[in-house]
Symmetry: C2
């Protein structure tokens, strides 16, 4: 089992990572002060069917629990589900000493974390990720829900008490979810660690390579990089914005497609290729990345996207300010920069990119 | 003009207090870094009609602004209005450098603060209170909205950049709003300052006494006491709970009446009398308080309340835990304590109290 300690200005907490680490859950719950009398598990139907029993069997008899299940899919990170979770929490009498368990992928972590962050102005929660993608979202304290006008537009920073990451829960992931998560691993390598990027590039030739030690390395190093960035900038005032590499266009593509047909990571991966195309020094790297993504079976950029609509969404990005779009580019692997673009300038570049890609 | 500096672990900010202090708004906005390019004013129709022009005329030409108005009344602190504010903010292109101005009473401060605290995971806001009650809610960083199952059940802690409190905005307050706010002034005196309580008791014989220097004294000392408590306990882990004096029953009464027919402060005032009745040492003080409230024209406790329903609501109070109801009592003025009650025990005492009051 790996243990990574996440230090943020507001909280320090452990990530337990490895095969069959769920028994850690009981330990963590017992160590909490005040001890929770009840627990709310928030999960989706798919994950619930597979792993809910494993979680429930770790809960002490003294702790009562209830489960709230929502449909799978990022489109479920909605206001309606947020309200339904809050209503259920009140109905079952969750109080300030209670704990929410977020059992699922990034979608569940985000919405359950936002419920925890705002229920009675904030109660404790524990992340139990079940996807590769969640290595990214489970660390850093970002929580939130989507608005029809934009992804993750409403939320809070709220750190979990612990992250319990059992890699056996990843064995049932469908291929497109593996790709989606691996895109964020690639991102972490690109913004921070050339040798980790080489390692990935040399060892992950197909999705079937993502298992055992390689999988554990991907998650561990990905979390470490995320942690290095976040610990320096919890509230996203500075360098944390580098984590947005690939996301400005990625989010816009997802939004235009109503979060359907292309996964988050696939959209971000194509966004990284676009970002690399914007700096002459990284154009070749972008082309190589594109080939690798294609070899791994990543979805291509959807056809018939409206460039003005994409640009409009990019202007509404949380990192945008006053009509200028701030893009994360690379000088080289491990050296990200923030480059502001006027919307019409970026529109031309994006039009050309979409024609060629 | 009075200036009080509020220090919390997460932020230090000024409260400007006095006659015609609105020009401070322009100064505060200009001092912000980064400078906001746009501002969203959230207010209610009633306050908007009276004071929106005064605010707008203080805004620099370089700052664009939009206004979102909701209906007056605490019942408007709803999920629907919260969502409508968020949608409007996205529509007008509010970004992370933008600022929300909360122009109104506690209801506006709470909902606008919660919008600011969760829009893009938190943007800045400035409180411009227009009621006496808001001297309480404008300091301490509590924001939130109501759920049909309980008041202020969903929210975050989010501190404003500044509070600009222009007492001339209080000249148009209806009598029941003056009473509602004065109840919290009495509460601050009771939990913290015997001589302030004597001052109030000797000088505020009728609502018409609440003007000029007396009004300024009430607001200033009330804010100072609130600040003393909050600065020691921003996240309500300990002594901040003393501020809940009178609120456990008060909130339950408001909830049972769907926040209609009795103001927040009037309900809290009756809750304080109940709390004082629970300690032999303060029974007489409670009786005296009751007479004073009646002289000031405070609404009596509504008839035909269901005691089991009230107790049920008190069990759901945010300060409750695992079926025990934590009541704030006084040993004497300035000496609050937390006393846990079993629900059935408190139910008997409340039944008797309601028969006698």
């Amino acid at each position: 089992m790996e243990q990574i300690t996440i230090k943020t200005p507001s909280k320090t907490y452990p990530v337990y990572l490895g095969e069959k680490v769920i028994p850690k859950l009981g330990e963590v719950l017992q160590s909490l002060d005040p001890a929770p009398k009840n627990v709310l598990i928030i999960t989706d139907h798919h994950v619930g069917e597979l792993y809910l029993n494993d979680i429930q069997s770790e809960l002490d008899e003294k702790v009562s629990y209830e489960t709230f299940q929502i449909e799978p899919g990022d489109s479920q990170k909605s206001f309606d589900n947020y309200y339904a979770c809050q209503s259920f929490a009140l109905e079952i009498g969750l109080d300030r000493s209670s704990v929410i368990l977020a059992l699922g992928g990034g979608m569940i972590g985000d919405i359950a974390g936002f419920v925890a962050g705002t229920y009675m102005r904030g109660i404790r929660f524990i992340q139990i990720p079940t996807t590769i993608l969640a290595h990214d979202s489970a660390v850093g304290g970002k929580t939130g829900i989507n608005h029809p006008e934009g992804k993750n537009m409403i939320g809070v920073f709220h750190q979990p008490e612990a992250v319990i990451y059992s890699t056996d829960f990843l064995s049932t992931l469908p291929e497109n979810e593996i790709r989606s998560g691996f895109a964020e691993v690639i991102k972490h390598a690109l913004i921070a660690d050339p040798s980790f990027y080489d390692y990935l590039n040399n060892n992950i030739k197909s999705l079937t390579d993502l298992k055992g030690e390689h999988l554990l390395n991907c998650l561990t190093r990905g979390i470490e990089i995320k942690n290095e960035v976040v610990s320096q900038d919890e509230r996203e005032k500075g360098i944390r914005a580098f984590l947005n590499f690939g996301h400005t266009l990625g989010h816009a593509i997802e939004g235009e497609r109503q979060y359907k047909g292309i996964t988050h990571g696939e959209a971000v991966a194509r966004g990284m290729v676009f970002a690399l195309s914007l700096n002459k020094k990284t154009v070749q790297l972008g082309n190589d990345l594109k080939s690798w993504l294609n070899d791994l079976g990543f979805a291509p950029i959807p056809k018939n996207l409206s460039v003005p609509s994409l640009i409009n969404r990019m202007k509404k990005d949380k990192k945008a300010a006053g009509g200028t779009i701030n893009m994360v580019l690379l000088e080289q692997i491990g050296q990200p920069t923030i480059t502001p673009y006027q919307a019409n300038d970026l529109e031309k570049k994006l039009t050309q990119f979409l024609e060629e890609n």
